[in-house]
């Protein structure tokens, strides 16, 4: 092992974070304040998620990190290396093999099992923040369940754009009580928030932890005449041909050429390995041989 305590944080801190996590699980959607620590990375890089991961990791865990669905982006690679180095845990890129998955901006396409934990990095945990700048006031609104203001935001969307234009960080109501910001995941992922795995949300700079226990009711807010819609680009993945996954749009040349591909790299790779080929894809090497 290394000179670090297991998973970087000292045991006292991890205990404090675990208490916050347990409280969060007991009150689904409620933002539990916690004493966020300085981490060896800048705010905005997932300091909240890293602290939550550090508190839940055990030496037997298999760890996976995704950033915008991809395993190979800077943020994902550096956080994965961080825990490889400080906790010595096994790491993987396969969603099914991981027991703890830290994520930024996506929920994996592969549905999670009840022995898996999904840890979100959250920039701004307060869904009412942009309408009500006062923390005192927003806390009071949560405690008295005064959520009319959230609909004012959706009203503004419709009046300006003709539809609910909020496409990510789409507010949800958890178990009929707390309105929660699901972190900046695309609203395509909102229906997946009702899952078998435990979901933990960590906001490092804002010092808040909240959670959704398994099989909890999570409803996306909407209007009767403008119902919620889990939207995505109306295309198929150009690499694997999937029509049911969330797609990234990629500009490929200066002539307006572009392609769509799964944002979940593990899901896309699995499909290609199983022989699916999209419009611009080439057969996976296993098949070609």
């Amino acid at each position: 092992m290394t000179d670090y305590n297991f998973a970087y944080l000292d045991e006292q801190t991890k205990r404090m974070i675990r208490r916050a996590i347990l409280k969060g699980l007991a009150i689904p959607g409620y933002q539990v304040p916690f004493a966020s620590r300085e981490m060896p990375m800048p705010y905005g890089w997932g300091t909240g998620g890293v602290q939550v991961s550090a508190a839940v990791l055990t030496p037997e865990d298999t760890f996976k990190v995704i950033d915008q669905g991809a395993d190979d982006t800077t943020n994902a690679v550096s956080i994965r290396r961080f825990f490889e180095k400080t906790a010595g845990v096994a790491v993987t890129e396969a969603t099914t093999e991981a027991s703890v998955i830290q994520t930024r901006h996506r929920i994996p396409e592969q549905s999670l099992r009840d022995d898996q934990i999904l840890v979100y990095q959250v920039p701004i945990p307060e869904p009412l923040r942009f309408l009500e700048p006062s923390e005192v006031e927003t806390r009071k609104m949560h405690s008295l369940e005064e959520y009319g203001l959230m609909h004012v935001k959706l009203y503004e969307d419709i009046s300006q754009h003709g539809a609910i234009a909020t496409s990510y960080a789409y507010p949800v109501k958890v178990e009929g009580r707390y309105v929660m910001d699901p972190s900046p995941i695309p609203k395509f992922d909102n229906p997946k928030l009702e899952m078998a795995g435990i979901q933990l949300f960590g906001a490092g700079r804002e010092q808040r932890i909240y959670a959704i226990p398994p099989y909890t009711q999570v409803v996306s807010l909407d209007f009767e005449d403008y119902p919620f819609e889990a939207s995505k680009a109306d295309c198929a993945c150009d690499l694997c041909g999937a029509t049911d996954s969330y797609l990234d749009e990629l500009i490929v040349d200066d002539e307006g050429g572009r392609m769509f591909m799964c944002s979940d790299t593990d899901y896309c790779a699995n499909r290609r390995a199983a022989g699916h080929v999209g419009a611009q894809g080439v057969p996976a090497q296993g098949d070609a041989a």
Partner: protein
């Protein structure tokens, strides 16, 4: 006939200083009461105590609720009080920007109270927002503009629309015409008078402008140094002031 609002011995102290003291009155449905007095006489303190923004140190404020009859709003739970202030009460601030959300469109401002009491149908919310903008003389094509694009008088009218959309029974107004020029004031007063009569509103209007109470108020309460020095029918108090301070106040008005 039960009074809509029954105020008994309200007192509010700021340390040793008196905010207001020994204030009692009854307000009946459809009645408009004016509170006048100089700056620092405790008018706004009293209004804030009545509207639940400040907790009075003594006394009772009984409001005739729709379900349970007279209830003391000072001792009722905060969720109940906040519910009242979203439904049966309205508060018109002196500065429209205190009462409006400046970064939300006019329609959203009017619709907020509807959504706060559970309206979830966009079309209906928008229709009643547009309807209310019309009633306060703001044209329907301004429904998506933000209050920052409105003049001071329009902002004040928008604030009134936003407050009245849920059909309140009691309106608190803190200097509703302050900071507006006289012609805009006249139109606003005209509008307010129409709405008060049409909706059979009760209102408590705090002002230092005697012309405002002359036009709007049925009854008048004159305050000085935190105490009520004179009460009576508006015309009676203004035409035949008894207390020395009221006489001073009435004679201070410039005759053009």
């Amino acid at each position: 006939m039960t009074p809509l609002l029954q105020v008994t011995d309200i007192a509010k102290f700021y340390g040793h200083r008196i905010g207001c003291k020994d204030v009692s009155f009854d307000l009946y449905p459809g009645e408009v009461m004016g509170i006048v007095g100089e700056s620092g006489s405790g008018k706004s303190t009293l209004l804030n105590c009545l509207a639940g923004h400040l907790t009075p140190d003594q006394g009772q404020v009984n409001f005739d609720t729709r379900t349970d009859g007279l209830r003391d709003t000072v001792t009722m739970s905060e969720p109940e009080r906040r519910m009242l202030s979203r439904t049966d009460w309205a508060f018109v601030h002196q500065h429209a920007r205190d009462g409006l959300r400046m970064n939300v469109s006019a329609g959203g401002n009017v619709g907020e109270r509807l959504m706060a009491v559970g309206a979830r149908h966009y079309g209906d919310i928008r229709d009643s927002a547009t309807d209310w903008l019309g009633r306060v003389e703001i044209s329907a094509d301004r429904v998506d503009d933000r209050p920052t694009a409105f003049s001071g008088g329009m902002q004040q009218r928008l604030q009134i629309a936003r407050n009245l959309v849920t059909g309140p029974r009691l309106v608190f107004m803190d200097e509703p015409t302050g900071g507006l020029d006289v012609s805009v004031q006249a139109r606003l007063l005209d509008l307010l008078r129409g709405l008060v009569r049409e909706m059979n509103l009760s209102a408590i209007i705090v002002t230092h402008d005697l012309a405002v109470v002359r036009l709007l108020a049925d009854r008048l309460m004159v305050m000085k140094d935190g105490h009520v020095v004179e009460t009576g029918l508006t015309d009676q108090v203004l035409d035949d002031p008894q207390h020395g301070y009221t006489q001073l106040l009435v004679s201070s008005v410039l005759q053009v």
